[in-house]
């Protein structure tokens, strides 16, 4: 659960009020059309009652062990991510617009990978500089010339979105490797149904528990052709010390597949087997929650203890499907991000329905000049950096920091991109002092199989619990909210 892309700055935005998901720009006075019932529920339920229910939810989460581990922090080895009881809501028209944008985006990501690992038409057409792909550390050389079963690369995508106004949604990041957080979508909904059942009578809310069935159907649909109608699917986890282990076990349980570790698998003559009490059993589809680098020590990192030796050979022999395919990291790379509008246009012939955040590529002289002139307003990042390293948040930096960064930028401009700071939307949130607006982002989950693309009506809303903060990461005090999507009743 980390996206380092949400930056913090109050600088230029203080003039305009932030857009609130329930109240728009009315300053908390008038709900937006379609949000009246939710606003009324919020005021009628009252802060104290909400606080009591939220406490019950957190106790339940702790008992269930919905925790994430924090490495190196022994006492708090298992923490729960704070859950906020005030949900965020999407109306049916909002959702349908988002869905079609997400579908277009994921199709483009898939087409892009088929192409860069295949004919490289997009490079020949000069849309993207060749070295940006071929010299990229995320470009998975062993995948070149290998088409995954059914031609699908990113079976499960978690697309991070932010919003700045009623119609202003932006894609912040495409998580096309092994996106996490879907268990929160489902568990938060369970908690809401139990604690606030009246909300579900009040509003026509679409369920999210179909995700597990959809995930299973997707996995079955991408099984190697030889595996018949009832393929054996498994979820491969690094093990119970992994920070997202709860989610792995939750998904395996809900989908009804075995949760395996590398030691449970064995590759023999390019066929993957799992060790069971009845002997070994052939495996057809592996939903791996292990990074590319670790899945097969014979092909990737030789020191990996988490991987299965020979897995890639079995994959290339067409005997097993890996979900998501190795090499998807090239599509959600920061260096590629700014080309996404062109990528969408190139493969679909349409304009991107969901825009990206305006991005200046410092490799281009005009963009570099603009960035140099506006350093104090922009967020500037290394394309191959992560976790906030090599990043300048202009409005939050001193003159000295800006001057230092300027030198680094001028030395290697091709390694940097710049973006404006965003005025993230807010949602009313239960805090110490009562209910107050807090900034949010949103991660919906998109499944792509040979049976089509399915978007579960919901997702993970992350909220920055500190006042004014735009950092929603769970490792930095972020919490989660349920994300409700309304049925189209014609009068929502």
């Amino acid at each position: 659960m980390c996206s380092a892309a949400v930056q913090c700055s109050m600088g230029t935005m203080a003039k305009h009020p932030f857009f609130d998901e329930i109240y728009g720009t009315s300053g908390g006075k008038t709900p937006r059309p379609g949000f009246e019932k939710l606003a009324q529920w919020l005021s009628e339920t009252g802060t104290e009652e909400l606080r009591a229910r939220q406490g019950a939810a957190e106790t339940a989460f702790r008992q269930l062990g919905i925790t994430f581990a924090v490495y190196g922090d022994d006492d708090a080895a298992e923490r729960i991510i704070p859950f906020d009881i005030v949900p965020r809501l999407f109306t049916a028209p909002e959702w349908s617009r988002l869905s079609s944008g997400l579908e277009q985006r994921v199709h483009a990501l898939n087409a892009f990978m088929q192409d860069v690992y295949g004919d490289r038409k997009i490079l020949k057409a000069g849309i993207i500089p060749e070295e940006l792909i071929l010299a990229n550390s995320q470009f998975c050389i062993p995948m070149v010339g290998h088409k995954p079963p059914h031609g699908i690369y990113t079976h499960i995508s978690g697309i991070d979105l932010v919003r700045t106004g009623p119609d202003e949604f932006y894609i912040l990041e495409d998580n096309a490797r092994t996106p996490s957080g879907v268990s929160y979508m489902m568990e938060n909904r369970e908690a809401m149904i139990r604690l606030c059942p009246e909300l579900f009578e009040l509003l026509p809310i679409r369920p999210v528990d179909c995700y597990a069935d959809n995930l299973r159907a997707m996995m079955v649909s991408v099984a190697p052709p030889r595996s018949g109608s009832n393929p054996v699917c498994v979820l491969l986890t690094p093990g119970r010390f992994n920070s997202a282990y709860y989610e792995h076990s939750f998904l395996a349980d809900n989908v009804g597949i075995e949760l395996v570790e590398a030691a449970d698998l064995q590759v023999d003559d390019d066929v993957v087997w799992m060790m069971t009490i009845e002997g070994r059993k052939r495996v057809d589809v592996i939903y791996r929650r292990i990074d590319d680098d670790y899945i097969d020590p014979l092909v990737f990192r030789p020191d990996s203890m988490l991987g299965v030796p020979g897995l890639m050979a079995a994959y290339f022999a067409g005997n097993v499907t890996i979900v998501n395919a190795p090499g998807t990291g090239i599509s959600d790379d920061k260096a590629i991000y700014s080309y996404m509008p062109e990528i969408v246009r190139f493969y679909s012939g349409e304009e991107a329905k969901l825009p990206i955040v305006e991005t200046w590529r410092c490799r281009e002289p005009a963009a570099l000049q603009y960035v140099l002139d506006h350093m104090a307003e922009l967020v500037i990042k290394l394309v191959d950096g992560s976790g906030g390293y090599g990043m300048l948040v202009g409005p939050a930096s001193t003159k000295q920091q800006i001057a230092d960064f300027r030198r680094a930028l001028l030395a290697e401009p091709h390694r940097y991109i710049a973006q404006p700071t965003l005025a993230l939307s807010t949602v009313p949130t239960l805090v110490e002092a009562g209910i107050a607006p807090r900034h949010v982002d949103f991660r919906p989950f998109v499944l792509s199989g040979s049976n089509g693309t399915v978007i579960t009506p919901g997702g993970l809303t992350r909220v920055a619990l500190a006042e004014g903060s735009l950092v929603v990461n769970s490792s930095q005090g972020g919490g989660t909210k349920d994300s409700l999507v309304l049925h189209d009743t014609g009068n929502a």
């Binding site: 939750f250 075995e258 449970d264 009490i277």
Partner: protein
């Protein structure tokens, strides 16, 4: 089912059972010592250590044998691998590894037991110790209840198999130690201290009332031994454990269509227990009999691990 999962489930069952047994042992010893009109003192606590085979591990702590130190050692000591805390830790660790095989209720009971002990550092006085044990016993019951409402699949049978194997081992150790070590020199069989000792055994296996139902004629060591060894109506008896192990292995065999050495050993043991009488066991040497049972149980444990390909 994955072999690794099977192993975790089996050990989950064993650890839960062991945690409860150790907890009950502490509680019964507290009764024997602190709460009794004739405190049994140090001997009672030395006996408790002997039952779980932890005399040398306790000696290594450098503490004197006393209620305070032994009950702390048996309940919360993180360095004593057999303490209630360590058993619950190990049970939860195994449960985490097999989350998918457990129902939500079953997991929650283990996690609650773990949370209950997590922040506790001292067993405390008599009352606090008893309430600690009660907390663990309550969650062990909740776990068992949840387990009985789970789907009757391999996971269910494997946990029960682990519990039955552990239970037989625990009961054998309890009878063995109490029968031989606890009767102080010069005290006549059937005297007041002897009576307290036997009541302690019954408390440990929560069978005081059961005994009265089965034997209307007062407390007699041979009757207690018979109940705990041969009576299949008594769930903690060796015979009942042996029977349960056979049933669990049969159930798994039905699902997988395979049986093996473990099934054979388990059936042999059940049959031979069914043919024994308590008098012949006592005449032949109860200690020897129990020793053989414990060794046989360990061999069966090995056969189970091999049959199900535990990693």
């Amino acid at each position: 089912m994955l072999s690794r999962t099977a192993s975790s489930l089996y050990w989950l069952g064993r650890y839960i059972e062991r945690a409860e047994f150790t907890g009950r042992l502490v509680e019964a010893t507290v009764r024997l010592d602190a709460m009794s009109a004739r405190p049994a003192g140090e001997g009672a606590w030395a006996g408790a250590l002997a039952v779980v085979g932890a005399e040398s591990r306790f000696a290594a702590t450098g503490h004197a044998i006393s209620q305070k130190h032994v009950s702390q050692f048996l309940t919360l000591d993180p360095l004593n691998s057999g303490s209630v805390r360590c058993c619950i830790d190990a049970a939860r660790d195994n449960a985490r590894a097999v989350r998918t095989a457990l129902s939500r209720d079953a997991w929650e009971s283990i996690n609650r037991a773990w949370l209950g002990l997590h922040r506790r550092s001292k067993a405390g006085d008599t009352q606090a110790t008893i309430s600690l044990v009660e907390g663990v016993v309550t969650e062990a019951r909740a776990f068992e209840g949840a387990m009985h409402r789970m789907l009757r699949n391999e996971a269910h049978w494997l946990m029960r198999l682990g519990m039955a194997m552990e239970r037989g081992d625990n009961s054998a150790r309890l009878i063995d130690v109490k029968y031989h070590l606890l009767l102080p020199q010069g005290e006549s069989v059937g005297g007041p201290i002897d009576r307290d000792q036997w009541t302690t055994i019954l408390h440990t296996v929560s069978a005081v009332t059961a005994y009265r139902w089965l034997y209307r004629d007062g407390l007699r060591p041979s009757s207690v031994a018979e109940m705990l060894i041969l009576r299949t109506e008594m769930p903690r008896s060796l015979a009942a454990s042996a029977e349960e192990v056979v049933l669990m292995l049969n159930a798994i065999g039905k699902l997988t269509g395979m049986q093996g050495e473990a099934d054979r050993l388990a059936r042999t043991r059940q049959l031979s227990l069914g043919r024994r009488h308590i008098n012949s066991i006592i005449i032949g040497g109860l200690h020897e009999f129990l020793g053989e049972y414990i060794v046989g149980n360990a061999a069966l444990d090995q056969a189970i691990a091999k049959q199900f390909r535990f990693p």
